[in-house]
Symmetry: C2
Subunit: 239 residues, 2 copies
DNA sequence: TGTGTAGAATGGTTTAACCATTATCATTAT
DNA sequence: ATAATGATAATGGTTAAACCATTCTACACA
């Protein structure tokens, strides 16, 4: 019948007030909060309590704190970073394995490419081709590290093409967290790298004619091959 | 060439030490940290600084703090709550709209049901049928609120059936956040509610014979219909 | 004109005290 | 004996005042 009376903590009230001001646009990204010693008076509290509130806001990714004179709390642009970090925690704790993450990635990236292909503009294609040629260059120079980075950039750019921030956030969360496995488990392999390049060529070609089915099917193969490589390596390592 | 020298804050060091202990399993869920006045001595710091560290850990969803004697910081089970909250922030700030969320949900839930169907056990089917009959009961009693709750439970249970925590976390994040729109934008409609029930009947039947394609296609229709209803209502409201 | 240094503003930390909440245990009334 | 009542102590929550560390700014000086 009744809701449990929420127990009030002063710092929580401060967090909510500042958070609401940010959400309502009263505080825009880039704006600077007053100094701690001023804020403490505005909220009629102590500096310690105020600082606990700032810690929470910082952890939520809403503010960033700089040191020194003219330092202070600055309103940040909201992004996927807190989600990336939370997911990283779940992975590190063993609740989520590479297998889980890969299975999810295959599904999500298939959908994502399908949408991206259906919304691709000429500028998008041009951007993808620039990235593709960069990747090709790194492939020819056997620069595995930069090849991987560019490959990832293509994946992220396809996320942008969906024009849907949810897909972009999820794409970033997955890639940031799967990236840690790359160096350890993804050995350079010229033949397979070429296959990956060919995949992207196919995807771009499909996007040009809005063939979202082919684009989607190709990326799914692409991601599967990537993950299979890693899984193989993991099995070898644990044998 | 160099990484920016991270500036050290005492409370960050405390956060990392405790977080690592949790991740490594040295501190298991349910365990209680020593009292603040003891911890402060163990870390050789002040209570204020220690409390800032506890605020961060609390915000990360790693600990829960209870009041009074025999209170203190208790290690929590990790769950999707921090992700749910971060996504909620992105939605409330307007970075993510209902349309964005729905588009994502349709894709993810299609994949999720496909996997769930391929892994369904007899016990899973039984559990779904129990929920289905509950929903049917609420439908017949015109209990719209409980019907929605049960509908959501079915969606969440299908997430469990994937045996993949990533899908479960995402499913929870989406549903918790889309739920706030239900009351406002989902009017009771006997005919359409029946359609939804029929959908679940089809899905369960398909799962029984491991027909993941039909199950997936059906849930996609189901979710689309749900969202279309809401979108219609939103359009009417904003006219 | 450039360079270095002193000052001041700001966040980071410490200390010590008091307040508020709650489990526990002793006291008391029935 | 048992149940209500109240005192006690442990714990988190808050406050205050001081000092430290970092960094921007302005001024003096070469």
């Amino acid at each position: 019948m009744f809701k449990k009376a929420k127990q009030s903590r002063v710092f929580q009230d401060i967090v909510e007030q500042i958070q609401d001001a940010i959400i309502n646009g009263k505080l825009e990204p880039g704006a600077k909060l007053p100094a701690e010693r001023e804020l403490k008076d505005m909220f009629n509290t102590s500096r310690g309590t105020l600082r606990e509130a700032l810690r929470v806001l910082e952890q939520k990714g809403l503010i960033e704190i700089k040191l020194g004179v003219s330092g202070g709390a600055i309103i940040k642009h909201m992004d996927a970073e807190p989600i990336v970090e939370s997911l990283a925690l779940l992975i590190r704790s063993g609740e989520v394995s590479l297998k889980h993450l890969s299975e999810f990635r295959i599904k999500i990236e298939g959908s994502l490419v399908e949408i991206a292909a259906s919304r691709a503009t000429k500028e998008d294609i041009k951007e993808l081709e620039i990235l593709f040629n960069k990747a090709k260059g790194y492939y020819e120079k056997d620069d595995w590290g930069n090849f991987l980075k560019t490959d990832e950039k293509m994946h992220m750019y396809i996320g942008t093409m969906t024009r849907n921030p949810v897909f972009q956030f999820v794409q970033k969360s997955i890639h940031d967290n799967i990236h840690q496995y790359y160096e350890e488990y993804l050995p350079m392999n010229k033949k397979r790298t070429l296959e990956n390049l060919t995949d992207f060529e196919k995807i771009i070609k499909a996007m040009k004619i809005n063939d979202s089915q082919t684009a989607s099917a190709t990326i799914i193969d692409h991601v599967k091959r990537f993950n299979d490589k890693m899984q193989e390596k993991i099995k070898l390592n644990t044998k």
